[in-house]
């Protein structure tokens, strides 16, 4: 036994061990069928969720108790995960990733059949539910979002009124003019970037579709140049650039704080933030806590109109799916159906219901009055867009490029907007060509 042979053996076995990784689950194409008789469904199911707040304050338990009224023999347990994406991604290398889970963003669509049991055909499900094509692979649906959100500007009505702006701006230049009035007439910060927390900047990508008012906006990303003259993303990025360039944002974007920004918006120290309808309930909560008027929190669409109407896109939240390795697929399926149709989860969060028949939530009542068109984007090419995005390292759904954009706009880095956007376009279209699409 000499020292060298032992080391060689050890390293050799380590190398061998590493040879077999990432080969979990070859079973493909199972179905999670809805049970016929609720009283007969049994089993304990674990639901993985990113809503740690709802797990902690007992809201999820209340949903489970209501669920048990219909399905008395099913036990539902919740596993709230703070770093949802990171942790679940790693757990999915095994078979043990709960019975019901939210599909992490990193999972590629083509892999859905390996990881999840199908909920049914798209032809059938799309009659009742929104967002089915976000999880459809070869005609079968693998997930269902329990709520939908509409991106838009959350704003403080009082501040905007004080500045003398009562109508929603209809073009980016009107929007800029409004922010300038807020800056000159009130003490509020006209627009807050949330630069440090990154994801609020990423939300600007959700403008896609609102400018062109086109249900095929995602297809256009897959086929065309997102930063062509007049394209949705170019319009959005130009507006953000101008807002920062003209000094209509907070003084030091590099040390912003999302949690602190909520009461600031509620109290009128911040006038506007680009977020989504999901944020309204949080802002109203912050207003109540800070002793401000929750009624001051308003919500408006992106300042662009097509033929005289505003457009806003409806986007799904995380999609719930059934683990293909689950031993209680019927119970898991029952939970997803109940949570989507009957739990009232969407209404509780003041968001869009995933049911096509449901009315718009209160938050979006002003949209209804103003005749804003709510678009359901066609996501058939969504997987392709994701691939192009990752391959090109542009990251339209990642914060980096918009942080660079903001840095450029406030003069921290040198360069022009056109060069910057053209550089992104070059990377994007170059990758499109190399992927052969």
């Amino acid at each position: 036994m000499n020292c060298r042979t032992v080391l060689a053996l050890a390293v050799g076995s380590a190398l061998l061990a590493s040879g077999c990784t990432g080969t979990a689950g070859t079973s493909k194409g199972a179905d999670a069928e809805a049970p016929d008789d609720p009283a007969e469904v049994t089993g304990t199911i674990t639901v993985l969720t990113h809503r740690t707040d709802l797990v902690q304050d007992g809201t999820m338990k209340k949903y489970a108790a209501e669920f048990n009224e219909t399905y008395p023999k099913v036990r539902v347990e919740f596993d709230g995960i703070t770093d949802y994406e990171g942790e679940v991604k790693i757990r999915m290398n095994t078979e043990n990733y709960g019975d019901v889970l939210m599909i992490p963003g990193v999972i590629e669509k083509k892999d859905y059949p390996r990881f999840f049991a199908s909920l049914g055909s798209q032809a059938e499900r799309s009659r009742k539910y929104r967002f089915t094509d976000y999880t459809t692979v070869e005609g079968k649906v693998y997930g269902q979002s329990p709520l939908g959100a509409v991106p838009g500007f959350v704003y403080n009505k009082k501040v905007w009124r004080e500045a003398g702006v009562t109508e929603w701006p209809k073009t980016p230049s009107e929007f800029l003019a409004a922010l300038k009035r807020i800056k000159s007439r009130t003490d509020a910060v006209p627009y807050y970037t949330n630069f440090k927390d990154m994801w609020p900047l990423t939300q600007w990508t959700q403008v896609n579709g609102s400018v062109s008012c086109d249900e095929q906006a995602t297809t256009k990303l897959a086929e065309g140049d997102p930063w062509a003259e007049g394209a949705d993303l170019r319009t959005a990025d130009t507006l953000l650039y101008d807002i920062v360039r003209q000094g209509l944002v907070e003084k030091d974007p590099t040390t912003t704080n999302w949690e602190a920004s909520k009461p600031k918006l509620a109290k009128g120290e911040i006038a506007t933030m680009w977020l989504g309808s999901w944020a309204v309930i949080q802002m109203r909560g912050a207003a109540k806590q800070a002793g401000a008027n929750p009624g001051d929190i308003g919500f408006m669409p992106f300042p662009a109109q097509k033929n005289g109407t505003f457009c806003a896109v409806a986007l799904p939240d995380y999609n719930q799916a059934v683990n293909i390795h689950s031993e209680h697929k019927a119970a898991a399926r029952a939970w997803i159906d109940w949570f989507t149709d009957k739990s009232g989860y969407a209404a509780d969060n003041l968001t869009l219901s995933p049911l096509k028949s449901a009315p718009l939530p209160d938050v979006l009542k002003p949209y209804e009055e103003a005749g804003v068109r709510i678009l359901d984007l066609d996501d058939t090419r969504g997987a392709e867009v994701k691939t192009i995005d990752n391959q090109s390292e542009v990251g339209i759904n990642k914060p980096d490029y918009r942080q660079d954009l903001v840095d450029l706009a406030r003069g921290a880095t040198k360069g022009g907007l056109d060069d910057f956007l053209d550089g992104l376009a070059k990377k994007w279209t170059g990758t499109q060509r190399s992927l052969g699409s």
Binding site: P104, V106, K196, T254, T255, G395, P399, D400, D407
Partner: protein, 312 residues
């Protein structure tokens, strides 16, 4: 080590002079050190070498970090890495940390020398200097985020001194990198300091007494006793600083996330792996970083060989 084992092995043998130890005993004697090493070696292999081997294996594939499918791509990731100069531009950021570590070593040496002499409150000052090293790096990131905030601690302290700077400390690439490097100095100064202090205190006290009798002043004591006495530790510190500067991660990742030109090679690697799902390419980048650090260390050892120090 061998001495003690032989003694214990022989102890039970009594009476007439024993012949050579019986065969089983000898075999056991050979196995003893390995039995002792079993636990640490298992841990080392399972948690260090196996993941590294895994990483090297991934670097030859196009794995995305989660998909069950992965294809062998040969040296494709390495070819991509070396043909994309933009991936190596981030090493300029390491320059800030390298410059900072020169300052850090000098300051640590200064404090260690001073505090090795009889100074009032020396234990208190030792504690003050070493304390930051004990704090978790992520916590430091958050603390300094408040420190550099507009109207935060730094601005308030400067305001008390009558200096109104009104600048965004993390606002421009130069300012942000300098600020982050300063945080890094604050954090790691204590480690260098303790290493130096230990080395200095290992120098026999008679040498100082003899030097004092000969009329050497403090500087001469430093120059001719302390400096040569701590050379091995000094060279170790330099190696640690260089490799540390090349692989900075925690502080910039927590404080800026790599925005505003503060992205380091490791942050870039993490983003490749976890944002863009290019685990294969990121593994290759990690392997390359490992090789670069090994190469730098090797060059440095060749330039400054680690001679035996003999003060007496």
């Amino acid at each position: 080590m061998t001495d003690t084992t032989e003694k214990t092995a022989r102890a039970p043998v009594s009476g007439p002079p024993a012949p050579a130890a019986p065969r089983p005993a000898r075999r056991w004697r050979g196995a003893t050190p390995w039995l002792f090493l079993l636990a640490p070696l298992t841990l080392l292999i399972v948690f260090t070498y196996a993941p590294i081997a895994n990483m090297v294996a991934y670097s030859f594939t196009d794995w995305d970090g989660v998909s069950p499918e992965l294809r062998y791509t040969g040296a494709g990731n390495y070819a991509e890495l070396f043909t994309r100069s933009d991936l190596f531009e981030v090493f300029w950021v390491s320059g800030y940390y390298l410059a900072a570590s020169v300052f850090q070593i000098a300051a640590a040496l200064y404090f260690a020398t001073i505090l090795s002499f009889n100074v009032r409150f020396r234990n208190f000052f030792k504690g003050v200097l070493f304390f930051p090293y004990l704090i978790n790096g992520v916590a430091i990131g958050f603390v300094f985020l408040y420190f550099f905030q507009d109207g935060g601690t730094l601005d308030s302290v400067l305001g008390l001194l009558g200096v109104e700077t009104d600048r965004a400390w993390l606002g421009t690439p130069v300012s942000a990198n300098t600020s982050l490097a300063a945080v890094s100095v604050w954090r790691y100064l204590g480690l260098n300091f303790v290493l130096f202090l230990g080395a200095i205190q290992a120098i026999p006290g008679e040498l100082y007494e003899a030097a004092e009798l000969d009329g050497a002043n403090r500087w001469q004591q430093f120059r001719h006793i302390i400096a040569p006495g701590i050379r091995p530790v000094l060279s170790l510190s330099v190696i640690l600083s260089v490799s540390g500067s090349l692989s900075v991660f925690e502080i910039p990742y927590v404080m800026t996330g790599g925005a505003t030109g503060t992205e380091t090679f490791v942050i870039q690697t993490v983003k490749l792996a976890f944002q863009f799902n290019k685990t294969g390419l990121a593994s290759a980048a990690a392997v390359v970083l490992l090789l670069i650090i090994l190469a730098v260390t090797w060059v440095q050892r060749r330039l400054v060989p680690d001679d035996k120090v003999d003060l007496v």
